[in-house]
Amino acid sequence: MAATFELNDDSVVVVIGSGAGGGTLSNELAQKGVKVVLLEAGGRHEIEDFSNDEWGMFGQISWLDKRTTSGSWRVAKDFSGLPAWIVKAVGGSTVHWAGASLRFQEHEFKVKSIYGDIPGANLLDWPISLAEMEPYYDRAEDKLGVTGTHGIPRLPGSNNFRVFAAGAKKLGYKDFHTGNMAINSQPRDGRGACQQIGFCFQGCKSGAKWSTLYTEIPKGEATGNLEVRPSSQALQIQHNAAGKVTGVLYADKDGKQHVQKARVVAVAGNSIESPRLLLNSASAKFPDGLANSSGQVGKNYMRHMTGSVYAIFDKPVRMYRGTTMAGIIKDEAGNKPERGFVGGYEMETLSLGVPFMAAFLEPGAWGRDFASAMEGYANMAGMWLVGEDMPQEKNAITLHRAEKDQYGLPVPNVHFDDHANDIAMREHAYKQGSAVYEAVGAVRTFRTPPYPSTHNLGTNRMSEKASDGVVNKHGQTHDIANLFISDGSQFTTGAAENPTLTIVALAIRQAEYIAERMAKNEI
């Protein structure tokens, strides 16, 4: 049964955020007998609350609290108040994620060594290697039930995939298939097989897609060691005179404030809220915010090089039938500097329904040209382009000077400028994506600009040296031994791959480390 813990119980680990990082960490700790209080800012919406309604679910689960944007990135113009498209609900962004579960490539853990000095880029090697991560990737893939791993069959190819694959083949690409997806292709772990419903972004109605909401979290609760507190917004992490964290101030659904005492605090609020919380927790002892002796908290914000290509054919595709994303071309994922940029990108099938297509195909567009594109909807195929972007110190989450949230705390500003490498990669990806569809007869292709960021990374980065980053190779902050970061904000660099599998693998690894240190009374 789900546990309940007293506010003054200072033996618990407080985890902030219940997505891929926090939800996984909570369950892994609970399974080891560690007591956990999981604070989640959003509400608890179970599968029966989901609907196949793009705008309806957007309103129900998205993180819509006030944020501002700056910088030259297109998102600041198209979606100035919505820099990130992430979830505020139990399960976090694993409620709406597409399910792509890819391991990083070996070179992506040591890009400074491989890419060399890239002007304007704040590159750093990860303090861990692929070899060290492999056992944890194995466990993460098994936990998520990733297709194409552990003998799990891949998903069948949808119409959208079949167009994509035919184009890939014609273009001479070799490495393409329906992907490594955390979506059951056959019943597994008490959940059924994918029914090709579509609407993966709106919460999976069949539960075939892994989400911490209905896997990690109930499993953790069943141990009797995990209490989940939904609608609990963390406001400040508190510390003592010795510089150890002691608890978390949070507001409940009625706005009433409480302090949950803690032995350890793990922050997993995604790459905007996590650094914001550290910055908002500044004190006399830590005037620049917690764990910020390096000055890197909030810096090096990455959001992946992204873009989409949609194509209209002269016959029906009906891309919306079936899994939202289940198709990948990996041929461009490697580091081939002769293309004019370092790093690589993945091409992944993607479909949007008519409501979202109207909003995202060409934001702000109207008139005959746009209307005629929408009239081609049934004949449309689509892909998403996702690649490694360059960390830049100026790309940062900062506290807004004037704007305050409902609790009186400064809202975050998200600043991002594309690096020249990002721009060159995007251009290459658009060209190749269009070529895939033109190879099989596309009559019209669209270079769709980036959506609000779904992959938010790097703002509390992992580093060997305390002067270069915020956390060590275990996600433990360099400055405060009992404060951890457990989400994608730990990423030293972004790699080309969708980040969730790596976040989960790091959380599994971190849970071992925390439990061991607690057992030895080191934290």
């Binding site: 609907s51 196949n52 309604d53 793009e54 705008w55 069948p156 190819g157 949808s158 119409n159 079949r162 167009v163 694959a165 035919a166 083949k169 014609k170 994918c194 029914q195 090709q196 419903i197 579509g198 609407f199 109605k205 069949s206 016959k315 029906p316 595709v317 009906r318 919306y320 039938r321 079936g322 329904g353 008519v354 409501p355 297509m357 109207a358 909003a359 109207w366 008139g367 005959r368 746009f370 209307a371 929408m374 009239e375 909807y377 049934a378 099989v440």
Partner: protein
């Protein structure tokens, strides 16, 4: 028959739904009588002008005025309790009236809208339309989008991979 007359006639034939009538002070009738709306805040003339604006913004010959009228109806309802919004909508309608918007062909209307593209009235109507039009199940049917599928068991047995024209798939 000259080419331009043919063009004009073809235009009328395909966009007959665009002829919006105003009957009385706050009643708008469109779609050759297929739909009507009464306004709360806007006058009938203003609402009719905004319906024309909505259609010219997202021009789909296959959609009748009901679709566009519904969006403007929603804006009118909001404007009834939002004076700033009402003023903005009135301003937009007045601009189009000055330009004799209803007498212009599609290209002429698009040119007028292009000139006011960055204005608050245009962006308000456009923003409302992009959701109001494309989130309407009646529009989905016309565009060939099937909408929610979970209740129908998804597409696992209903054609998720039924594409039949690819030579090499």
């Amino acid at each position: 028959m000259s080419k331009s007359v043919m063009g004009r006639r073809a235009f009328l034939a395909t966009t007959s739904g665009a002829i919006v009538l105003v009957a009385g002070g706050n009643l708008v009738i469109g779609g050759n009588g297929a739909w009507a709306m009464s306004t709360k805040a806007l006058t009938g003339d203003e609402a009719a002008m905004l319906v024309r604006m909505a259609r010219a913004t997202y021009p789909h010959a296959m959609l009748d005025d009901t679709i566009y009228g519904k969006v403007i109806h929603g804006l009118d309802e909001k404007a009834a309790s939002d004076p700033a919004l009402l003023r903005s909508l009135q301003e937009g309608a007045a601009t189009l009236k000055d330009k004799k918007f209803e007498t212009l062909d599609e290209a002429g209307q698009e040119a007028v809208l292009k000139a006011i593209e960055s204005s608050a009235p245009f962006q308000t109507v456009r923003g409302e339309c992009v959701v109001g039009i494309y989130n309407n199940p009646d529009v989905w049917k016309v565009l060939g989008y099937e909408g929610p599928s979970a209740e129908l068991g998804g597409y696992i047995d209903r054609g998720f991979d039924d594409i039949d024209w690819l030579q090499d798939a």
